[in-house]
């Protein structure tokens, strides 16, 4: 069996064909899609990357984090500052950025696990740290404080590709974030089927039983937090150089953390493809609702004078509630079963 076939082992022939066709469509997006579609796709992959990182903690190791924006923010601020202050290209800056994010993850993890803080209390700890760092950065003038931290962009940046400095055309950002999201998928697939992944799943399912069998719970939980926060740190570096502006209140906002979890919840927590599938449903769904409203106004079904601002969020929220109510394990396992995308003995 080839490594590629082994990697896609759980997928059926139909799943492989469908996945391949979808991937091809995405690879060719810059040729058929507008820049708006590409911007939406970049958001999808970006959220999928963070979702994958969050899923690694909760879905694989059973550790609930609601402060993942913290790791994203640390990665973003570190790389952006090093670039602006000493000209360190983000391709190198990603190392200290990820390093700091991992250190922060380890600190939270150690405090949490050492003192047996679990479940929602661990989640609260992650929120508390995210708030703490936000408030600190709010007062650090060399990071822009509340005024924000900015990276300069110009029209010239839009043309050409400077991968080392992450300056270039939207297509560059698109392929980069796509590669990062798919890379995270590959990493998670590898981890899930490694000894580490099995230990995590054992801890997730029954920590005491795992400990009784000799699994060092503290160590393996720390591994999960470190890898997850590192992945989020990478997403942060991308965010900084794509957005070019960082505001503590926006970057570390709890809303950002929750946003990162929704894709995984809708797609299926603990599944490999769930986070990416969930974000591919959720993010475009919001845009489709906007377009549908525009379409209905254009056709005269709805009076164009009627302002339906916020309706999109209501519909979006309603659909999310329906999914959570009727498919609590997420959409991906259900879609897999319906379309026979995975082999009967395998799971997503």
């Amino acid at each position: 069996m080839t490594p590629v076939r082994r990697f896609f082992g759980p997928l059926s022939r139909a799943g492989l064909w469908l996945g391949g066709a979808f991937l091809l469509l995405l690879l060719l997006l810059p040729w058929w899609g507008s820049s708006y579609i590409m911007t939406v796709a970049i958001t999808v992959f970006y959220l999928a990357l963070i979702g994958q990182s969050w899923n690694l903690m909760l879905g694989f190791a059973g550790l609930l984090s609601i402060g993942h924006a913290l790791f994203v923010g640390i990665g973003a601020y570190t790389a952006a500052y090093l670039f602006a202050a000493i000209g360190l290209p983000p391709v190198i800056g990603v190392l200290p950025a990820v390093g700091l994010a991992v250190l922060m993850g380890l600190l939270i993890g150690y405090l949490g696990f050492r003192f047996a803080i679990g479940g929602v209390y661990f989640a609260l700890l992650t929120i508390a740290f995210a708030e703490f760092v936000r408030i600190v950065i709010d007062h650090v003038s060399w990071l822009g404080a509340t005024e924000g931290f900015f990276l300069k962009v110009s029209a010239a940046d839009r043309h050409g590709i400077d991968l080392a400095n992450l300056r270039g055309a939207p297509e560059m950002y698109y392929y980069l974030i796509m590669a990062l999201a798919l890379g995270a998928l590959v990493l998670c697939r590898f981890l899930l089927r490694s000894r580490l992944g099995y230990y995590w799943q054992a801890i997730r399912d029954d920590a005491e039983a795992a400990q009784a069998l000799g699994v060092n719970i503290l160590r393996y939980k720390m591994y999960a937090v470190a890898i997850s926060s590192g992945m989020a740190g990478v997403a942060g570096v991308f965010y900084a150089f794509y957005q070019n502006s960082l505001f503590p209140e926006i970057v570390f906002n709890i809303e950002r953390s929750i946003e990162a979890t929704l894709g995984s919840i809708v797609g299926g927590v603990g599944t490999l493809f769930g986070p990416i599938f969930g974000t591919f449903i959720l993010t475009p769904l919001g845009e489709i609702v906007t377009e549908a409203i525009d379409l209905l106004k254009h056709w005269g079904v709805i009076d164009p004078q009627i302002k339906l601002d916020g309706l999109k969020l209501l519909i979006w929220g309603f659909i999310v509630v329906l999914i959570v109510l009727f498919k609590p394990k997420g959409l991906w396992p259900w879609v897999c079963a319906r379309l026979r995308l995975t082999r009967p003995e395998a799971e997503g």
Binding site: S34, I37, H139, F150, V153, E291, D294, L295, K312
Partner: protein
């Protein structure tokens, strides 16, 4: 003039055909309408935390269309975008509007969202006319397509100090101590920090004896108000949002914290919802904010049109600065005689508008795209109305300072 219209047709067609639509194509519809109208994307937070303010800004754009037509300006066609009060959505929506054919963008009320839109406009060479956003960096990054007729944070702070001195001088009542009460979010921390730091530089006659931050999502302000009471300041200076301003006022009345006056910099204390919710207790608050000149002919027209469209609302910063942004776009379009981006950019650079509604003599952009000085005013709440106290040339009434005690209202 055309009524506000939603953008793009071809994308809709694709959407209908795409079913699930997740990958629906967005072929720009740049040729759907005659070139006599300038397509302006009005990008605002219409949903999410800032929805109310975004909607109020839109009111200013809505009433601008008939007024500009009557003034002989060429046609504007609005395309509406909703940032959902999120930076990344602001970016995506700005892309969407431009893809759908927007030839200029107006927005976005919030600094972070405006910064995201500015980058898209800069990269796509589409003029962005900022209605409201105070972050100084917006016009300090060398952008060529960003034009802002709104005061930066330092301008607001500087004018707040100057107008206070004038107010104290005119009334002969000068507070010796002030408590600074501010919302603990990015906006509040930033503004309050600047006020606190710059007070000595402006040689203010008072001492800030207490700086009290509070949670932006707080509902009970009894502890904060007790702290104010404990500090026994002559005056209170507040940096707030809307709901907290209402709750703080009620708490000040409940705890009978009588002061020489309440000063406010930022939103909240002058807004329609505040005046309605607080009634007579909202009276006499002095707002040190960007404002409009009631004596200008265009303001009279705007005020009349706005009153007709929204009889229950008072005209505020949100509508007037959005109106002026529309005026800037229409004026540039008129002088450019074309919807071509470079022509519009060149015309915007040469803007010299004196028939605007904002305070100050004229709208002229410097090489950075910033109007070098956008004056702020002192505006007092008065029996459900708003009275301009300063600057003198725009004044519509005399100040009531010290303010009336709560019990005598």
């Amino acid at each position: 003039m055309k009524t506000p219209k939603t953008p793009a047709v071809s994308r809709r067609t694709v959407l209908a055909g795409a079913g699930a639509g997740a990958v629906a194509s967005a072929v720009p519809l740049r040729h759907g309408l005659a070139a006599t109208a300038l397509k302006v994307g009005v990008l605002l937070p219409r949903s999410g935390g800032q929805a109310q303010i975004g909607i109020e800004c839109q009111y200013g754009a809505d009433v601008a269309l008939p007024i500009l037509k009557s003034e002989g300006y060429p046609e504007l066609e609005f395309m509406l975008g909703d940032t959902e009060t999120k930076v990344d959505v602001a970016r995506a929506q700005c892309e969407r509007l431009i893809d759908a054919g927007a030839q200029a963008i107006i927005g976005c009320f919030d600094s972070g969202q405006t910064m995201a839109a500015a980058q898209v406009c800069e990269q796509k060479n589409i003029p962005l006319i900022v209605n409201i956003a105070a972050v100084p960096k917006l016009t300090e990054l060398g952008y060529k397509w960003v034009f802002r007729n709104f005061p930066t944070g330092p301008m607001i702070v500087g004018d707040a100090f100057k107008n206070q001195k004038k107010l104290f001088g005119a009334t002969g009542a000068t507070p010796k101590t002030v408590a600074l009460l501010h919302v603990n979010d990015t906006f509040g921390t930033s503004l309050a920090g600047a006020l606190f730091a710059l007070a000595p530089r402006f040689k203010m006659p008072y001492k800030i004896v207490e700086k009290i931050p509070y949670d932006p999502y707080g509902r009970d302000f009894s502890a904060e108000v007790r702290k104010v009471k404990g500090a026994k300041p002559d005056a209170l200076w507040a940096v707030s949002r809307l709901n907290d301003a209402i709750a703080i006022t009620k708490e000040l009345v409940r705890q009978r914290v009588d002061l020489m006056g309440i000063l406010s910099t930022g939103p909240g204390w002058y807004e329609n919802a505040y005046l309605k919710a607080t009634g007579k207790y909202g009276n006499d608050v002095v707002n040190l904010i960007p404002w409009y000149d009631e004596n200008k002919p265009m303001t009279q027209k705007l005020k009349a049109a706005f009153k007709k469209a929204h009889p229950d609302l008072l005209l505020t910063t949100n509508q007037t600065f959005t109106f002026d942004a529309c005026l800037i776009a229409a004026d540039a379009f008129k002088r450019a005689g074309s919807t071509k981006n470079t022509d519009l950019q060149a015309a915007l650079r040469k803007t010299n508008l004196t028939n605007n509604v904002g305070l100050g003599h004229a709208i002229k952009f410097n090489e950075k795209g910033q109007v070098p000085y956008v004056p702020c005013g002192a505006v007092q709440n008065r029996d459900g109305d708003l009275v301009v106290l300063l600057p003198q040339e725009a004044a519509t009434g005399k100040p009531i300072w010290p303010m009336r005690p709560w019990r005598k209202r």
